[in-house]
Each structure stands twice: as C-alpha cells, then as structure tokens.
C-alpha cells in the first residue's frame, strides 16, 4: 500500500499586502475615525448645548488623568484593582476547574449537587457583597473573593459540561486499547474537557473585573471603584469618566487574553 492518499494539498499563495490586510486596515481606520468623531462631538457639545457639569468633556478628562498620573493616585488605585482581578480570577478559575473536573467525573455526586450549584450560580453575586464584608472586612480579600465567586461558577459549569459531553466513542476507543480508568481520565476526559474549561475561562474574564469593581463600589477606600464613588460624591464627573476610561483600558487588555484563549480553543475543533 504505497499509493498517496487522496486529500487536501497545500500550495503557496501570491497576495499583495492590500489583499492580505486591506479589509483589516479599513476596519481599524473606521474604528479610529468613529472614536475621534465621538470625542470631537463631545468636546464641541459640552458647555455649548449641554451642561458639562453632568457630562464633563474629553479635555477635562485627559487633564484629570494627567493630574492623577502625576500625583500617583492613578497608579496605586489601578494596581489595587488589577491585583483584585488577577487574584480573584486565578482563585476562582483554579477552584472551578478542579471542582468541575472532579465532580463531573463522579456521576452520582454530580447529579445530587447539580441543582444546588445552579441555585448558587443564579444568585446575583453583588447580593453576596454585604455578607462578604461581614466575613472578610472591607479590605482586598473581600473583592478578591467576590470576583472569585463569580469566576468559580462560570468555570465550574463549563468544565463540568465539557467533561459530561465527552464522546462515548473516544472513551470506548481507549478501553479497547486496554486503557484503565486513569488512562481514560488523562487521555480522553481531560483533553476533551479543555474546550469547556477554556470557554469557561473566556467568559469569566470580564466577570472577574465586574466582581472586583462591584466590591469596591460597595465598600472600599482604594481601587478604581473607590475613585468612581469618591469622584461622584464630590460631583466630579471628570474624575468618574477618568476612572471609567482606565477600567475600559483594563477590559480591553483582558479581552486580548480572551481572544488568545479563543484561538487556542478553536485550534482542533471540528470544522463544521
């Protein structure tokens, strides 16, 4: 049997820069144009058609960011929030992945626990904040745990779904090779549930940010959530917007991670 298998063949493709990247370049230019138009309109409208006490204006927000950057307010508070997000995400994701993999492999235990998990998952996590303050105080622990609680359920449920949806045929294939339960767990269930786990991680990233900021809004003396609350209390809308800008930058960076994870998830997924 030496004939070449019939199938797809790879050939080189001659394309100009424009053919390769033209569409992407146009999209990016339009995005920048849209952003610039909104900022210019906002700047022009402020004080002319609308009261800038309520809406502030881009020049003031940039000025506020400059001041905060100079006196260090920006960096210390951003650093606090970033730490809360990262620790909360890591803690929740690790616990969710381990619990999801472990519990879903034990069919009976999973069936017993499933409704309880769904009930806990359905509680709005902000409703837990007062309880967490009682338990952990108003320090960083409270925000980390609030973020972790949200992340945990998302990662847990997606990982468990991944484990439970493993193709029976793949498990049988390993059994036929003389594989033990351990082989099945390591060679089939673990890699097969990776898609679920990565999906869970992907959807959980923004929720880590939400959990941390909500914790700060409820009770804190540091962090971007605190900056928002503090500025609003002084009717300093430029300060509120400045903190929101920083939050959206953090969200943008986190979304890049989401994109990277998404590509990893789709690498070997069936084409259809």
């Amino acid at each position: 049997m030496s004939m070449a298998a019939a199938g797809p063949v790879r050939v080189g493709l001659e394309q100009s820069w424009w053919q390769r990247h033209g569409a992407t370049a146009v999209v990016w230019l339009l995005r920048l144009g849209l952003l610039a138009a909104i900022l210019v309109l906002w700047q022009v409208a402020a004080d002319r058609w609308i009261d800038s006490t309520f809406t502030s204006k881009p020049s003031e927000i940039v000025g506020r960011l400059g001041d905060w950057s100079a006196d260090g307010t920006l960096w210390t508070n951003t650093w606090v929030t970033v730490q809360e997000i990262v620790y909360g995400f890591a803690l929740g994701a690790a616990a969710g992945a381990i619990a999801g993999f472990g519990l879903a492999s034990l069919t009976l235990v999973y069936r017993v626990l499933d409704p309880f998990m769904m009930a806990l998952y359905s509680i709005p996590k902000v409703a837990l904040a007062p309880l967490f303050i009682v338990w952990f105080g108003i320090g960083m622990h409270m925000k980390v745990l609030l973020a972790a609680a949200t992340v945990f359920f998302l990662v847990f449920l997606n990982t468990a779904a991944g484990v439970r949806e493993v193709d029976r045929g793949l498990i049988d294939a390993v059994r036929l090779m003389g594989g033990t339960r351990r082989d099945i767990a390591r060679k089939v269930v673990l890699p097969a549930s990776m898609t679920g786990l990565l999906t869970g991680l992907k959807v959980a990233i923004p929720y880590a940010l939400i959990g941390a900021v909500i914790g700060e809004l409820v009770a804190s003396n540091r962090g971007l959530g605190y900056l928002i609350n503090d500025s609003a209390a002084q009717f300093d809308t430029a300060g509120v917007f400045a903190a929101l800008v920083v939050l959206s930058v953090i969200a943008g960076v986190l979304n890049i991670f989401v994109g990277v994870i998404g590509r990893r998830v789709n690498r070997w997924k069936p084409a259809d």
Binding site: S2, G7, R175, L176, G178, G179, P191, R267, K269
Partner: protein, 267 residues
C-alpha cells in the same frame, strides 16, 4: 476456477476457533421495555480467517461486533476469546468502528501512538512504529495534521493505522468504508487486503454491501432480523482478488445471486 481451492480458505478451515459467540442474546432497556437486538446467536470464527458478516441495517451487526469486542456484555450467553470467556475489552482484539474515534486534539502521529502510549512503550520506540505505520497506510507527509484537517478517507487510514499499532491478532471492522465514495472504498478495500495478506490475523468484517462481502471474505455469514443466521458459507474465490476481474467471474455472479436471495428471504 470453481474447482481450485484457495490456500487462504484452506487455512481458515483448518484454523482453530479464536472467537465465538455462544447463544448470545442482547437486549437494551428503553422506557420500561426491552428492545431485543440479538436473539440466541451462535457463531464461531476460525483463526486466521477473513469472515464477512452481511446484513441489512438494524439486523444487529454492530451489536454483534460490540459484543465480540467486549465493549458491552451480552444479556445472556457468552463470548469466548481463545480459551476464556470475554468479560471486557482485550488488547488482542482491535476494533475499527463505523464512525471515527480519533482524538481530535492529537495529530495523526500522536493518534497512532496512543495504544503504544497506553502500553507504556518508550517515546523513541513509539515514534518508530508510528512512522512505519503512517507509510504503510499511505499517510506519509500528513503526520502533523489534525483529524479535522484530513479527508474522510484519510481519517479511515489513520484509524486503521491506530488499530494496527496495537498489533492485535483479531480485527473487528464495522462497515469501516461505508461513508466513503465508491472509488475510495475500492481503493481502501484493496489496501486492506494487501495489509492483511500473510499476517495471519483474524478479521471479522461487517458490511451491508454484497460486493464488499464477496471481495474480502473467506467466509460470509448473512444475518437476518435479530441476528438470525440466514446463510453461512465459504467463499472459494482465489486470492488476490480484484474488484474489476471479479465482476465478470461466473463464480462471483452465482455467489452474488445466492447472497442476494438470502438477504431477501430474511425480510
């Protein structure tokens, strides 16, 4: 042609029993009722023979193979493999299922290495065996491709290579080429025969295609509803067989008519 006795068939007749179903019944429970898939089936497979099991959809062919593979236990009756009762999968038995069960997250080479990994072979030895098999099944140059990047025929080749990597003595195949186009099927049938010839491996090959059953088998077992055996006979066609030459062979035409009649009778 009719008088010549092919050496392969001769060997099959003289071979001792390697795999056997002894009055097996298989029922599946569904909504409080039992669905009977096989009823009191008894069949025995001789060592080194190529047995094709022919039957219409839903006659219990796949159930029979699942039982012979040890994947599912029979409701009553026993499966014998060599000198013992089969209670679970055995590494001596390879099973090529109807659908692909390649691990989608492993490329071709690592899929083929999987049975060797489970057996605990060192990496260098695994790679050596996999490289050899990739060439033998005609997948040279596609070692690094993931299953989704392969055509249906190439996935079948990879599955075949993976099964052979476990070096089983008995091969079970469940309509392995059923989903492929006619040209590709003929090609893979020839390749399978070339791979099998001279290895001494026992093959049980399930199909619903009369031509395929005759082209490949030393013996054909025709199954009717509930796994009733409608016909069980030796195929005395000389090897090597070619699909094109067979079509005009009077012996083949007569056998084809006989099997076709048997299938109709079972309706």
């Amino acid at each position: 042609m009719n008088g010549s006795v092919p050496s392969r068939g001769d060997h099959a007749r003289s071979g001792r029993r390697v795999l056997a179903a002894n009055a097996v019944t298989k029922q599946f429970a569904k909504d409080g009722a039992a669905i009977v898939a096989l009823d009191q089936l008894t069949v025995s497979i001789a060592e080194g023979s190529f047995v094709t099991v022919l039957g219409r959809s839903g006659c219990g062919k796949s159930t029979l193979l699942n039982l012979l593979a040890g994947l599912v236990p029979p409701t009553t009756g026993e499966i014998h493999y060599r000198d013992r009762v089969l209670t679970g999968p055995d590494t001596g038995i390879g099973y090529l299922t109807q659908t692909d069960t390649l691990m989608p997250w492993r490329d071709v080479r690592r899929n083929i290495e999987l049975p060797l990994e489970i057996r605990g072979l060192p990496a260098a030895r695994r790679r050596e065996i996999a490289r050899d098999l990739v060439e033998r099944v005609g997948l040279g140059g596609f070692e690094k491709h993931y299953p989704r990047e392969l055509s249906g025929g190439m996935r079948r080749r990879a599955s075949l290579a993976r099964m052979l990597a476990g070096s089983p003595e008995t091969l079970l195949m469940d309509e392995p080429f059923g989903a492929l186009d006619a040209q590709l099927r003929t090609e893979l049938q020839q390749d399978l025969l070339a791979l099998w010839q001279g290895t001494g491996q026992t093959v049980v090959f399930v199909t619903h295609d009369i031509d395929e059953a005759l082209l490949l088998g030393d013996r054909v077992v025709v199954l009717g509803p509930l796994g009733r055996i409608l016909l069980d006979r030796e195929i005395g066609l000389a090897r090597p067989r070619s699909a094109d030459a067979l079509r005009t062979d009077p012996a083949f035409v007569a056998l084809h008519r006989e099997l076709s009649a048997a299938l109709r009778q079972g309706r």
